[in-house]
Amino acid sequence: MNDAATFPIETSPEPREVNPVRRSIANAALFLKLGAAMSEGVERCFLNDTVATHYMTGAFAESSTEFREVSPDVRATLAAIVSTARREIIEDGMRNAITERLPGVVAKHLDVAIPALVSLIESDRIPPIVVAEILKELGRLRDVVPRPNLRWILERALRLPSAFIRDGAGLGLAQLADPATLPYLRQAVENEPNPDIRSGLQLVVDEIAETMANDGTAAATDQQA
């Protein structure tokens, strides 16, 4: 007998309608596990039928903090975008794999795309110019991705060693135009060793501050009216 062959997994009382592909995968996994449990005599293991059901019904909730594994598909898609971008000439205002394909992937996999991108950027395996392009593009997704996630990845990038990346982060934050980023931006201006990037970051600070001031004036005018 093989004690290690027992594996408790929760199931749902009745199987539900599941995607045939998922069903096949779940069945294949079940039979593999059952196969692993085989030996002479009787083995006991636990029914593993509705793992797919659980995943399918686990709807994304905006208030959830549940950890979500980044699927290999998402990783592969992001890696393919990066791989294509590495072979392209990346220039300001020109379309490339990142500007064309990244927004769609991020919008489709909202809950895992940003952590996956953070992992990619921090893996040090992507050329800085490509990372900078990703950061610039993320800033444009201000109405698609939750602001805290965008702020986090862009603010963190302001501290990375590559000047290219810090410049890209500054441009991304300019696109994001979120007043909540001002403390980080001001600190980045103080710490920035590269004079060109420092003046660029200062411009971003000034633009956001000016927008805030104008918004405040407009709100005051509206109130008076």
Binding site: P8, T53, S63, P148, R159
Partner: protein, 232 residues
């Protein structure tokens, strides 16, 4: 917990908090993830560190019988983990955080699906009649935090269902293996995730963390005791 962008979690976090080295460490470079685990109290403690977040999981040992793995009665069974987190919160190794969450998965044995649905209706709205199946209900009942942090709200997200655990006895001899499916053991299942709202600006003051942990645990207890009915 969700950490600030400048946070770098040291490799020594486990040792600093637990007091000894972890039993296993896994580094996934592609995912920028480190996972450590080791024995703790009645189960296993697991630390997962990613760029944006730090998670501690307290998990029961795998079941060796046809029963759901579990620690014991709530809230007493949660005490070792809560004390551990409270202890961590008072140390300097507790990272600067923007958002904190406390989650539990709770189960309670029930006779069957119909009985389970009837018992669920004491806690939530919209439970169907027993001829329906695969019912699952998820709702967030946010409220203001009582930890004394201005402008902080907490989410009380709960997911309710009736689950079942079954066994398969696999008869193996000459010819094809013959599975014998045992009876299902039903249970009410509640997954509760009480967390500070994502729209909170700034960091959570370090000296307020213990009070906030108490507030989060109070939120969990409220869901368990009062359910998640629509307020009248």
């Amino acid at each position: 917990m969700f950490v600030t962008p400048e946070t770098i979690i040291p490799d020594t976090l486990w040792r600093e908090v637990v007091g000894e080295d972890s039993e296993t460490t896994t580094q996934q470079r592609a995912a920028a993830t480190r996972v450590e685990s080791g024995s703790f109290a009645e189960g296993t403690l697991r630390l997962q560190i990613q760029p944006m977040r730090v998670d501690w999981f307290y998990e029961p040992p795998p079941a060796t019988t046809a029963a759901m793995p579990a620690f014991g009665r709530f809230p007493a069974a949660a005490r070792p983990f809560l004390e551990f987190v409270r202890r961590w919160a008072t140390t300097g190794s507790f990272p600067t955080s923007t958002r904190i969450a406390l989650g539990f998965t709770l189960i309670a044995a029930t006779e069957g699906r119909a009985t389970g649905y009837r018992e669920l209706s004491e806690f939530i709205d919209g439970v169907p009649t027993p001829d329906a199946t695969d019912f699952q209900y998820q709702v967030n009942r946010p409220r203001a935090s009582r930890a004394g942090i201005e402008g902080l709200n907490i989410n009380r997200l709960s997911r309710w269902s009736v689950g079942a655990l079954g066994t398969v006895a696999l008869l193996v001899g000459a010819g094809a293996p013959h599975p014998i499916i045992g009876p299902l053991q039903h249970h009410l299942r509640l997954e509760v995730d009480v967390n500070t709202a994502a729209d909170f600006q700034g960091v959570i003051p370090h000296d307020m963390i213990p009070a906030l942990l108490d507030d989060l645990f109070a939120g969990v207890t409220e869901v368990c005791e009062q359910g998640a009915h629509t307020p009248t």
